[in-house]
């Protein structure tokens, strides 16, 4: 399955189990901190993505990375998947 689809599916599932309402529509320009998911939700999203994708891109880089938009977040995962 494409990484993009896994990320968006997981994002929706985390939002629904954590009583968060996502600001629709989700696009590449959606700013993560304004998407409706709080920082706990993002921590859960990253942890669940690691379970699904078997890698944590944040642990793979020496530089701190802070994706701002959903597009940047997906691109970061796609880029690190290539290194994995």
């Amino acid at each position: 399955m494409a990484i993009r689809k896994i990320i968006i599916d997981t994002l929706r599932r985390v939002a629904s189990t954590n009583e968060a309402t996502l600001i629709e529509p989700l696009t590449d320009d959606t700013v993560l901190l304004q998407s409706g998911l709080d920082s706990l939700g993002f921590a859960i999203l990253v942890a669940q993505l690691e379970e699904n994708l078997k890698f944590d891109p944040f642990a793979m880089t020496d530089q701190p990375v802070y994706p701002r938009t959903l597009g940047e977040f997906i691109a970061f995962y796609e880029q690190m998947a290539a290194h994995n």
Partner: protein, 422 residues
């Protein structure tokens, strides 16, 4: 106080004292081995006693107690620095002086913090044990713990002083272990709740004919107590709270988790006193010992109470254990007790065992991760969804597991406790 050799000499020599998969040894044989160790002079060469080979250990304990100045008990997973330090303290092994008791030096398990060394004597180590040899001689105690740790040493000494046989399995395979205990007629087992849950899952566990079940070393939950009660209806079930530092503890026999709030006024037996600190941790004091003497690195308050580091709450006339005060998981500044989350997950009838720990997160410092051992033939995905739903209902958002992993087994430490670090 009699020495260990004197106690054993007062019991029938032909009784089997120790049974391993390799064979059995009588009490007389053990005493003779110890005697020759003393005569040869080897007993004084080193204070170190290891539990790797049980007969060697028993022989050395019998030879050294009341004869040498110190016994330094060395668990399998010895912390090298701790023992370098201990050996410095006991640099020379000497014959004991008149009127003195042998010092038994033992390490705390250090489940979450650094292990510490504490000094005991045979008297302090045996003061909460049963001495009735008429009953004792009918019993066979299983040695599940490392015999050089406090809980294991209690089992070894309980068997020695009450004349019971000690059964020593030599396998980590739970099915083989349980089968050995059934074959050898085990009547009594002391183990951690984590270890009990493993043993309960063994195919032949129901064939054990147990008379004494003891739980300790971790929080004892009502579900595990209930499973033990229904499987072993003839057994007396006791959960004990003991600490290596204090040397004694107290026991609870009413089959419920925690302990009665009256214990804060008076503990049955009167050997310990209990209090709750302002930080909500349990404080304990041995009323028969001056705890401030001779114990390094153990902090007591002005009244001689030791802080156990176990967080407790008072709930409907019961004191309930929440977990280790320094074992909490930090989720973006909010503290989660892994034991609280474990208790909620363990309530599911499809769950055999569970372990909760913190996993580093780039977003919040940590997230909560749960490992769950399901009953056989349970649909993993359904179980995960059910457990997520239960947590959502029962726990604040930051306490809920971010990830639930289905695993075959929960890894235990050498002390038989669920591993707390990732």
């Amino acid at each position: 106080m009699q020495t260990l050799a004197e106690i054993l000499s007062s019991l029938p020599g032909d009784d089997v004292a120790c049974i391993t998969p390799e064979g059995r040894v009588t009490r007389r044989e053990l005493l003779m081995r110890a005697e020759s160790l003393r005569i040869s002079g080897e007993a004084l060469e080193s204070p170190l006693v290891s539990g790797a080979e049980i007969l060697t250990m028993l022989t050395r304990l019998i030879a050294l107690d009341g004869y040498a100045s110190s016994i330094l008990l060395m668990p399998v997973d010895t912390d090298a620095r701790l023992y370098a330090n201990a050996k410095k303290q006991v640099n020379k092994q000497n014959l004991i002086r008149d009127g003195e008791a042998t010092r038994w030096i033992i390490a705390t398990s250090g489940t979450t913090g650094a292990p510490k060394l504490v000094t005991h004597s045979l008297q302090t180590l045996t003061q909460s044990l049963k001495m009735n040899t008429e009953i004792g001689r009918q019993l066979r105690w299983a040695l599940i713990y490392d015999p050089c740790r406090f809980a294991g040493l209690q089992v070894v000494l309980q068997a020695c002083i009450s004349g019971s046989a000690l059964l020593v399995p030599k396998t980590a395979d739970i099915e083989e272990l349980v089968d050995f205990l059934i074959f050898e007629g085990c009547t009594s087992i002391s183990a951690t709740p984590s270890m009990w849950r493993k043993m309960l899952s063994a195919t032949n566990a129901h064939k054990l004919e147990l008379r004494h079940i003891t739980l300790g070393g971790e929080i004892t939950d009502e579900k595990t107590l209930g499973r033990l009660k229904s499987k072993f209806s003839n057994a007396k079930i006791t959960h004990i709270y003991a600490s290596t530092e204090v040397g004694v503890g107290f026991s609870v026999k009413d089959g419920k988790a925690g302990f009665p709030a009256e214990y804060l006024k008076s503990v049955p037996g009167g050997k310990v006193e209990l209090r709750i600190s302002q930080q909500g941790t349990l404080l304990i004091r041995n009323t028969e010992l001056n705890q401030t003497l001779g114990q390094q690195g153990i902090i007591t308050d002005a009244d001689g109470f030791i802080d156990t580091g176990d967080s407790v709450i008072l709930q409907a006339n019961r004191v309930i254990f929440l977990g280790r005060a320094n074992g909490s998981i930090n989720i973006g500044g909010q503290k989660v007790m892994p034991e609280e989350v474990e208790a909620v997950l363990r309530e599911s009838s499809s769950v055999v065992d569970v372990r909760v720990y913190g996993k580093p997160s780039p977003v919040l410092g940590n997230v909560v991760v749960a490992e769950v051992v399901p009953l056989p033939q349970i649909c993993e995905e359904d179980l995960k969804q059910k457990l997520f739903a239960t947590c959502k209902e029962r726990l604040a958002a930051f306490k809920r597991p971010a990830v639930i992993r289905i695993v075959k087994d929960i890894e235990l430490t050498e002390a038989g406790k669920a591993k707390r670090n990732n």
